[in-house]
């Protein structure tokens, strides 16, 4: 049996699937806004929290969020994480900081990257603002915001953001 072939211990079977992402009504408003340097959220009715980014519904009440509401491009850091693991689609130098930022006027924290801030100075309650891409790079994509950067304003007390942390 010495001429028996070596057993096959593994095979590679490449799989690639392509999709046309369906943004839906609410996210379409949001993505079109980004191309104009606007952050557009959505709410179910006046008085209800503004969802940013909007996915179509208010998850607390299960109501459609079809009313567009523009919110500020400034906000408060309500949670963060320091990333030390590389990823193919992330252009930032390691380590960098991911933040959840509660934009002024929004009722839901927004996920992005913080730059121009030493790692040991990131903190809950710190004020930040969007750093927009140059005009020729604006697109219907969150990449229209290159990153968030610190804003020279006093921190927001923890009690005011506790619900979002």
């Amino acid at each position: 049996m010495s001429d028996a072939p070596e057993p096959i211990t593994s095979i590679i079977t490449p799989v690639r699937l392509e999709y046309d992402f369906t943004a839906g009504a609410a996210a379409t408003m949001f993505l079109r806004g980004l191309a104009q340097r606007k952050i557009i959220g959505a709410r179910s009715r006046p008085g209800e929290p503004v969802m940013v980014p909007p996915r179509g519904a208010d998850p607390r009440t299960a109501e459609l969020t079809l009313e567009a509401v523009e919110v500020s491009d400034q906000g408060t850091v309500v949670s963060y994480s320091i990333v030390r693991v590389p990823s193919d689609n992330i252009p930032f130098e390691l380590p960098y900081v991911c933040i959840n930022v509660l934009l002024d006027g929004a009722g839901l924290a927004f996920f992005h990257v913080l730059q121009e801030c030493p790692l040991d100075e990131v903190r809950l309650g710190m004020r930040v603002k969007a750093h927009w891409a140059p005009d020729d790079q604006l697109d219907t994509s969150v990449t229209s915001i290159e990153y968030f950067e610190p804003l020279d304003e006093p921190d927001v007390p923890f009690e005011e953001i506790r619900e979002h942390t």
């Binding site: 699937l17 999709y19 046309d20 996915r55 179509g56 519904a57 009440t61 459609l64």
Partner: protein, 349 residues
């Protein structure tokens, strides 16, 4: 066994959609909850069926919860299966005595991806998926084998399509419907021999939702609750080469275990996305030849993947609730070539 009744059912239009999954599902879930007469927060359990592979997005099913409201926190579960299997889980949960009611929903939006490629991932990854056979071609292999064994012709399959389309005429949610004739259908080219377009499912995007509750609760909520009298699912080997594709032993076992044959059926809603599969299911589930099958037009005329099984249950329940029958079988299949099968026996009060 605790008595469990279907108290409400809703489904979307099944048209191709530019809305996202949450936007499609939300009105349907809301309609089912409102029709149940219960408040959202009163419902004890939430269970859903969908597949992230249709969206190409990991944990896409979690976003589905946005559409049903998850605050205050809900007791919730999900199956990467048709909503009919989520209904099974909810039914089991009620049997354990933990809850007395449940909202079950499912959604399927197949338009973002290439369905033929997505479904190829359900096949044996070592020797079959790599060939990327499309689902219609896999079904065509089964059809060819079944026709040879049963002595059937393409005409016999076309007759299933003609009957289904006619039945779907009254179904406002049906994608394909209306009068057709066998000669005209057979004049069309084959899509994947021996199957033509009319032998293959009309795919759409959509959602289905249902509320179930225990005995007296269900009686208080609706005039004629439809009771789940038997509920079973069984599975056959997934590899195409290791089983007789012309038979569905798991459908037979599920039907027998669910008590399908304990009494006379008035009609059946079978999840048979291909014409020949209805014939295999009729035979395997040992259904009487004269039994009315798919008065809604079935999954052949309207297939919303991961939702059309729950829709079969809902269509059957609605028909019984309206008084157009007292006892029915609803069936759901999953996988290629009728690999997994679920049978539920429904009875009116």
């Amino acid at each position: 066994m605790r008595e469990v009744g279907i108290v409400s059912f809703a489904q979307s239009s099944a048209l191709r959609e530019r809305r996202n999954e949450v936007e499609i599902l939300l009105p349907v879930a809301k309609e089912a909850v409102e029709a149940s007469g219960m408040k959202r927060q009163e419902i004890g359990f939430t269970c859903s069926g969908s597949s992230d592979f249709l969206q190409g997005q990991a944990f896409a099913f979690v976003m589905g919860l946005d559409a049903v409201g998850a605050w205050p926190p809900v007791v919730e579960s999900h199956v990467e299966m048709d909503g009919a299997f989520a209904l099974y889980e909810a039914w089991v949960k009620i049997q354990t005595g933990e809850v007395d009611s449940a909202l079950v929903y499912s959604f399927g939006k197949t338009s973002p991806g290439d369905l033929a490629e997505v479904l190829a991932l359900q096949l044996d990854p070592y020797c079959v998926t790599q060939l990327w056979p499309d689902a219609d071609s896999v079904a065509a292999l089964q059809a060819r084998l079944f026709m040879a064994r049963a002595g059937l012709e393409e005409r016999d399959l076309a007759e299933v399509a003609v009957r289904s389309r006619r039945a779907a005429s009254d179904n406002s949610h049906a994608i394909v419907k209306g009068e057709s004739d066998v000669e005209t259908l057979l004049a069309e080219p084959c899509r994947s021999s021996p199957l033509r377009a009319h032998d293959c499912p009309a795919n759409g995007d959509g959602a289905t939702a249902m509320v179930i509750a225990t005995g007296d609760r269900a009686r208080a909520l609706c005039d004629r609750p439809v009771w789940i009298r038997g509920f079973e699912h069984r599975i056959d080997a997934p590899a195409l080469g290791v089983r007789d594709l012309t038979r569905a032993p798991s459908a037979q076992a599920a039907a027998r275990a669910a008590g399908v044959h304990d009494d006379k059926l008035d009609f059946a809603e079978l999840d048979a996305p291909y014409t020949h599969q209805e014939l295999i299911l009729r035979e395997s589930m040992e259904l009487p030849e004269d039994l009315e099958v798919n008065p809604s037009g079935g999954s052949l005329c309207t297939r919303v993947l991961f939702s059309c099984g729950l829709t079969r249950v809902g269509e059957a329940a609605s028909r019984i609730a309206s008084g157009a029958g007292d006892r029915a079988l609803a069936h759901t299949t999953q996988g290629h070539c009728l690999q997994q099968n679920l049978a539920v026996v429904l009875e009116g009060e």
